[in-house]
């Protein structure tokens, strides 16, 4: 593309670019229609053809609609899942942990899929807290659970950072108090005892006597933290028989500052800086032999990048599936034209030009394709909503997918391609012998 055009294109607003791409994709269908119908008014006959074989036509339209709807529903879902997982990680600016796998730690600290990792000690935590530009450094201590809900040890400041103001109650102020995620079934005032571990292997009796009461509830975050129960990190250390992060004379304290000498360790620390440049500086500072620092968003973005080819394959498969279904429908149309072959033959016997009959058959096929595509848009909208709810339910990540420009482009490309293919049954209809068809 010449530079001047490239510059002009890149100067356009994204929505205008998308609109122009849509127009470009629809152009072949529109141009074909203009050329095929030039000089004629074939559309006056199409409604009667459609009504005469309405049930058969309805089946054809439904087939196109379902294939289009499922295709665009799936591609929209893939985008919604990507955005949902990224949104769930947004509050986790920078994670500092012991050196290891960034992906393992991402899953553990952000998506609450715990795994055994080395702990950061008190000295490392102190270096993080003391670093320039750190406005929040919160330990994230996982490993316990209650009735399938992860119990996470952290600080009151982290709870506020994660969800903002509580929708109910107050922050925890001592060991034995907890704040529930928005989707946790325990009510305010309910008591529970954390089990050691998670899943089927969780040991419900290991922390007997560590009764905990729910004193607050977070606002929804659209992340797995909605199903978590947050407790003071001091409580997690205490129920495991460790020091509670503070010197004995301050053992009732909740939250920072922690005493490095009484800091038992934490799998991860969430670090927040007020500016992006400061976050990158902190990542550089804490990428050392003893600590690993990473941006969850970056790791996630790389994972999404790896899936880029899969996304293209999905889009291609959606188009191929739709074209195959339409090819089947058009083959059916060839058979269907036999049903009204006598009417077409009559038209020709009355002196209708061959191109007029050609345009009637093409417009008939184009109406079914266009109707199917429009109905497919509605099916896609409904399918997207159903799939989003189901994925959100199964993953605990809020997926809020909706049809957008990529899906509109997909449908426009499909309509143009199949309307060109619809020229075939129109040609075949002209090859039928008029006299034989008139005799029926």
């Amino acid at each position: 593309m010449p530079d001047i055009l490239l510059d002009a294109w890149q100067g356009l607003a994204p929505s205008l670019q998308d609109g122009l791409v849509l127009a470009g994709l629809l152009a072949p269908a529109v141009l074909t229609g203009l050329v095929v119908t030039f000089g004629f008014r074939p559309l006056v006959l199409v409604p009667s053809l459609i009504w005469r074989y309405r049930w058969t036509n309805l089946v054809f339209v439904a087939l196109i609609a379902v294939s289009v709807g499922l295709g665009v529903g799936l591609t929209a879902q893939e985008r919604g899942l990507r955005q949902g997982t990224a949104r769930a990680a947004e509050k986790f600016d920078l994670i500092v942990a012991a050196p290891g796998s960034e992906i393992t730690m991402l899953f553990a600290a952000v998506y609450l899929q715990p795994s055994d990792v080395p702990l950061l000690d008190g000295a490392a935590y102190q270096r993080i807290v003391s670093a320039d530009n750190v406005s929040l450094a919160a330990p994230i201590a996982y490993g316990d659970s209650h009735d399938g809900a992860p119990v996470i040890g952290t600080t009151p400041q982290f709870v506020s950072h994660l969800s903002g103001a509580l929708v109910e109650g107050r922050l925890f102020g001592r060991s034995g108090e907890a704040v529930a995620g928005s989707a946790v079934s325990l009510r305010l005032g309910a008591e529970f005892t954390p089990a050691h571990g998670m899943g089927d292997e969780a040991d419900a009796a290991a922390h007997a006597g560590a009764g905990t009461v729910i004193v607050g509830r977070m606002a929804a975050t659209g992340s797995p933290w909605d199903k978590a129960i947050l407790v003071p990190v001091e409580a997690v250390w205490e129920v495991h028989g460790l020091a509670n992060g503070h010197a004995p004379e301050r053992s009732a304290q909740i939250g920072p500052p922690f005493d490095p000498e009484h800091f038992p360790g934490t799998p991860a620390v969430m670090v927040h800086a007020e500016t992006l440049w400061a976050s990158y500086a902190l990542q550089s500072e804490f990428t050392t032999d003893s600590t690993m620092a990473f941006f969850p968003g970056t790791v996630l973005s790389r994972l999404h990048g790896l899936m880029g080819d899969v996304r293209q394959i999905m889009s291609m498969m959606a188009i191929v599936t739709q074209v195959l279904v339409t090819a089947g429908v058009l083959t059916g149309l060839v058979v269907l034209t036999r049903l009204f072959a006598r009417r077409l033959a009559l038209l020709r016997a009355l002196g209708a030009p061959r191109r007029f009959v050609f345009s009637v058959v093409w417009c008939y096929a184009a109406t079914l394709i266009g109707g199917g595509a429009l109905l497919g848009l509605a099916v896609g909208h409904v399918a997207t909503g159903i799939l989003s709810r189901e994925i959100s339910r199964r993953t605990d990540i809020l997926v809020d997918a909706s049809l957008a420009w990529p899906e509109f482009h997909l449908i426009a490309g499909f309509v143009s391609m199949t309307m060109l293919l619809a020229l075939l049954p129109a040609f075949l209809a002209l090859t039928r012998p008029v006299i034989d068809d008139l005799r029926g």
Binding site: Q10, Q83, W277, S284, E285, F295, G297, T298
Partner: protein, 166 residues
């Protein structure tokens, strides 16, 4: 005699081709993998082939200078501007934002990697092809470092020598 003169001029013009190309910011051939200024090393600078007027340059910066240095941005004859950018996420979508500077402590490293920090070269004068080398002048608070940036494939995820010790 005239034929010899013409042949000599043509030969001279042919041999000076790469230099002319290098002067305009593009060259093809071996590139320096390491650049250094007062204990600050810049290693494995690379970018992706592109036909758009913008490219993101990635590199590794090692600070062994004995003091904190700040990466500010850069300049290049290959483009109209070189700015330091970072990736920010808003409502599930990523966007590149311009950063003023990133300080790197003594003994630390700063990695400019895909989906993270980068030097954005804007207003590229020519498309970048795999195997090309462009030159940029990386601006640090303490001075400028000339860096050869190797152009990798459009879908590359790292420098082709990534992992080699220098």
């Amino acid at each position: 005699m005239l034929v010899r003169l013409v042949a000599s001029v043509l030969l001279l013009a042919a041999s000076s081709g790469p230099s002319l190309s290098a002067g305009s910011g593009h060259a093809v051939g071996a590139a320096e993998h390491v650049s250094e200024l007062d204990g600050v090393r810049i290693i494995h600078a690379w970018t992706r082939a592109t036909s758009t007027p913008e490219a993101l340059v990635y590199l590794e910066l090692e600070n062994r200078s004995g003091r904190t240095v700040s990466l500010i941005g850069g300049e290049s004859e290959s483009g109209s501007a070189v700015t330091l950018v970072g990736l920010r996420f808003r409502d599930g979508a990523a966007e590149l934002v311009t950063l003023p500077a990133v300080p790197v402590k003594d003994g630390a490293e700063l990695h400019l990697d895909p989906e993270g920090l980068a030097l954005r070269v804007e207003g590229l004068k020519e498309p970048l092809h795999p195997g090309d080398v462009i030159e940029i002048e990386v601006r640090l608070e303490s001075g400028h470092v000339d860096v050869d940036v190797e152009v990798e494939a459009a879908d590359a995820t790292g420098h082709s020598h990534a992992g080699h010790a220098h």
